[in-house]
């Protein structure tokens, strides 16, 4: 078999007209809610309610109702925070980094992944807040503002860097997402039949007119935001890893943490996006717009980042031995063979072994298999954070204070609630906002773009041809 690499493969063939693409994406948004949707929403709302009840009890009694004990002062709260922040990383990677790399297949999944980023960051932000116990009094130690105590936050603390990194990430992701939505809201405005909908979409679209004089600046801003988001997305999990790496605790105090955390974040984020996409494309009948090849490419990234994570596990162990530090080595041996060995081996199997199955083309292109593998990856990544945090803490420098951490029902309630919150938001998004970017997906349809040399053929001298190529996303075919 010979492949011609000079021609980019088609993403979306020209069979569907633009009108049909509009309908495919927007009909589920315009349609009335059906029983299936309400059942799904009922399930996620139940989970959310469990979380809300656990949270209410936590606020009422205080965080003593959690399982955290003396050496293990950080447990489910921070595990969940790091896990959800990680989930949020796929969105920006897809929308920004793959955009800069001209991966046109990302157009059909970028919107959905960005929305998942925003919801994951919202979910994640909940945990550091509630882990302060009385979050409504927390503003003073989170943000630098002039206050009656006349004290400021500590700019030397990685926990403060974290506040800045995560909130910046949330705001910039939100801007990126909203800027992308403006043309789609305008399309919905022009389709809307009821007066209320028309008013809402007119407001949201700000009066967008699809003018090319606007598209020009719009595309430039999109490129700039992608350029800003790329270092930003790498910085966020780097800063999260600083929370651990700048401490002096064996098991945390390692320089491999920043890249290792970023790779892990992309790994789990892609797995989550892939899972959600499989459900969404089935439910809303979007198989043509999110082709199997897109999922296959996502699986390749999962495999790559999974391998990087596996390398990091090995390297951590090697350095623990190579450093000659007995305490360091003890921590790692304790991780793999101590009281939490079960968690370590669940993590290892899910994260290192399962993504390697994607070497086989049949597995990367089979929906049920890839779905199950991605679920494993998410389980594994949750356990990775658990292993890093709990096993490093539960046996500290003073053997007399060693203790085994056991989560309580409330801990599990909050974990379930976080999934409830995330998927409730995802469901509401999929119902009320186009989950595929209409303007972006039309642009990569076969035959949507003019021929490369159309103006030269029209006997036109083509000066300054290249000055704006950078702004034109997903270049010529």
């Amino acid at each position: 078999m010979s492949i011609d690499f000079s021609v980019e493969p088609k993403i979306i063939d020209g069979k569907r007209s633009f009108k049909e693409m509009d309908n495919a994406i927007l009909d589920p948004v315009d349609a009335k809610v059906n029983v299936k949707y309400l059942m799904a929403l009922g399930l996620t709302l139940t989970m959310l309610f469990i979380g809300a009840a656990s949270l209410g009890w936590t606020f009422y009694k205080g965080i003593g109702v959690w399982g955290n004990n003396n050496p293990v002062a950080w447990a489910f709260d921070i595990v969940n925070f790091v896990f959800w922040i990680g989930i949020g990383h796929a969105g920006t990677l897809i929308s920004a980094i793959l955009f800069l790399m001209r991966q046109r297949w990302r157009n059909s999944i970028a919107r959905f992944a960005e929305a998942m980023t925003i919801f994951a960051v919202i979910t994640a932000l909940l945990f550091p807040l509630i882990h302060t116990g009385r979050p409504w009094l927390a503003a003073i130690y989170l943000l630098p503002y002039p206050n009656q105590h006349a004290v400021w936050v500590n700019f030397y603390s990685p926990l403060l860097w974290d506040v800045f990194a995560v909130s910046t990430y949330f705001i910039v992701s939100f801007i990126f997402w909203y800027i992308g939505l403006i043309p789609d809201f305008a399309t919905m405005r022009d389709r809307a039949t009821s007066k209320v909908k028309k008013a809402i979409y007119s407001g949201l679209s700000l009066g967008w007119r699809f003018s090319n004089r606007h598209w020009q600046h719009y595309e430039m801003l999109y490129l700039i935001l992608a350029g800003l988001s790329t270092p930003l997305v790498l910085s966020v999990h780097t800063v999260v890893s600083f929370d651990f790496a700048t401490s002096v605790l064996p098991g945390w105090h390692t320089t491999i943490f920043p890249p290792y955390f970023v790779a892990g974040a992309v790994f789990s984020g892609f797995a989550m996006v892939q899972n959600a996409l499989i459900v969404i494309r089935k439910v809303f009948d979007l198989e043509e717009l999110i082709p199997i090849r897109t999922l296959e490419l996502m699986n390749k990234i999962i495999m790559l980042t999974g391998t990087m994570v596996g390398y990091a596990y090995g390297m951590e162990f090697f350095i623990a031995w190579y450093s000659g530090s007995k305490i360091e080595l003890f921590t790692f041996v304790n991780r793999a063979f101590g009281p939490y060995a079960w968690a370590y081996w669940i993590m290892f199997t899910c994260n290192v072994v399962s993504p390697q199955l994607f070497w086989v083309k049949k597995f990367r292109t089979s929906i049920p298999i890839m779905f199950v593998i991605a679920v494993f990856v998410n389980v594994g990544m949750w356990f990775e954070r658990f292993v890093i945090i709990v096993t490093s803490l539960n046996r500290d420098f003073l053997p007399s204070s060693w203790a085994y951490y056991r989560p309580t029902m409330i801990d599990f309630g909050l974990l379930i609630g976080s999934f409830g919150l995330f998927f409730t938001l995802v469901l509401l998004f999929a119902k009320y906002v186009p989950s595929i970017s209409i303007a972006e997906i039309k642009a990569i349809k076969d035959g949507a773009q003019p021929d490369h040399h159309v103006l030269e053929h029209a006997n036109h001298d083509d000066q300054g041809h290249s000055h704006n190529v950078a702004a034109n996303q997903g270049a010529n075919s």
Partner: protein
């Protein structure tokens, strides 16, 4: 029809190549006020329209660098000027630790600034009353057709000429777009009834919710600033102990720490006979005595023990401590009077510890000597 004013003439195409050529020809023909509307950006259209490159990047870098310098200045001011604190032995202004926050602030300001610039400055949005809105033309270009229009305001505009130009380019349909009548005649009044009612409703809602937040919500468990705590406050009955007392009475025969029974209650002479000052007359003890004397004794007996009361007759004046009677008392009797009181003078055994009372005795002796110094003392 005479009220209607022509805004522009537009044409739609359904082939991306045709719209490219149309844009190219229209700009070549010298039209300035024209625009292309496409459901998604077409590659090369900026060149066909001969648009200069977008300048939004300059705004981004300006906003970004503003963010960098603002946050660095802010951190410097906090850590070096307003509240300098040594943290982990590092300098007040240690740049490496501030890099993450500086980076985030740069990105934040650059992103917010450029997005707002795009919407407000470049697009002049929000604007939902453009003549193109709600036209058949807009509905077509927002979905599946490529459109181009030339404004009637353009210097070279000529209705038939433009139409024939579009026809020659292979237009699928030609639209004439008019200003809406409302758009031309509408006036906005500040004292519109609806506007005033809206303001009143907002004011009532805001006051009500502010009142509920500040007076009710802030004091509901568990948001009550820890006002409710499971402990016994003063003057409150304990629900934990059956007798309702918060404090427990000590077991019978309990002796307080450091308690020594006093054997000479009511017997000043015997105290003078048997007790002697356990403290050495050194500077430290005399200084302690001085402080305690000034606190407890001086209001009545005066700062120098000469009976110059500061109480202005509200309480009987204390006698001088330099009388022969008191000078000749033994230390023990002086101690006894301080501890138990005499006539209207109360005892000070509750206020001053044993050692402090003996220190006062030392200081009184010092005063007596100093105030009645003899010639020989100066040698």
């Amino acid at each position: 029809m005479e009220n209607k004013k022509l805004y522009s003439v537009a044409a739609t195409f359904d082939d991306p190549n045709k719209i490219m050529i149309a844009a190219d020809k229209v700009s070549d023909a010298g039209y300035k006020k024209y625009d292309v509307n496409t459901p998604f950006p077409l590659h090369g259209m900026d060149d066909a329209m001969k648009l200069p490159p977008s300048k939004i990047g300059y705004f981004t870098i300006t906003f970004g660098l503003t963010g960098t310098s603002l946050i660095l200045f802010f951190i410097w001011w906090i850590t070096s000027v307003d509240y300098p604190q040594v943290i982990g032995g590092k300098p007040f202004f240690g740049i490496p630790a501030f890099i993450p926050v500086t980076f985030e602030a740069t990105v934040l300001l650059a992103a917010i600034g450029s997005a707002l610039t795009l919407i407000i400055y470049f697009f002049k949005f929000p604007n939902n009353s453009h003549p193109l809105h709600d036209t058949e033309y807009m509905n077509a270009v927002s979905s599946d057709e490529y459109g181009i229009y030339i404004e009637a305001q353009d210097e070279k505009f000529d209705l038939e000429g433009v139409k024939s130009l579009f026809n020659s380019l292979g237009a699928k349909k030609i639209h004439e777009i008019y200003y809406e009548e409302e758009f031309l005649t509408q006036k906005f009044s500040l004292f519109d009834k609806k506007f005033i009612i809206g303001l009143v409703v907002i004011a009532i809602f805001t006051s009500f919710s502010a009142y509920m937040h500040l007076n009710k919500l802030l004091y509901i468990t568990p948001f009550n600033w820890m006002v409710e705590q499971p402990k016994v406050s003063a003057q409150q009955a304990s629900t934990f102990f059956a007798d309702g007392f918060g404090m427990r009475t000590p077991a019978e025969g309990t002796v307080a720490r450091g308690f020594i029974p006093y054997a000479f209650t009511g017997k000043p002479e015997e105290a003078g006979k048997y007790l002697s000052n356990p403290l050495e007359a050194n500077e430290r003890n005399i200084d302690l005595g001085k402080r305690k004397y000034l606190t407890f004794c001086s209001p009545c007996h005066g700062n120098y023990g000469n009976g110059e009361s500061r109480l202005n007759g509200q309480f009987p004046n204390g006698p001088t401590l330099h009388s022969d009677k008191i000078v000749n008392w033994p230390d023990g009797q002086l101690y006894h009077v301080i501890s138990e009181g005499q006539n209207v003078m109360p005892g000070y055994s509750k206020q001053a510890t044993r050692d402090e009372r003996w220190a006062i005795v030392l200081y009184v002796r010092t005063l007596q000597r100093a105030m009645n110094a003899k010639e020989s003392d100066l040698k």
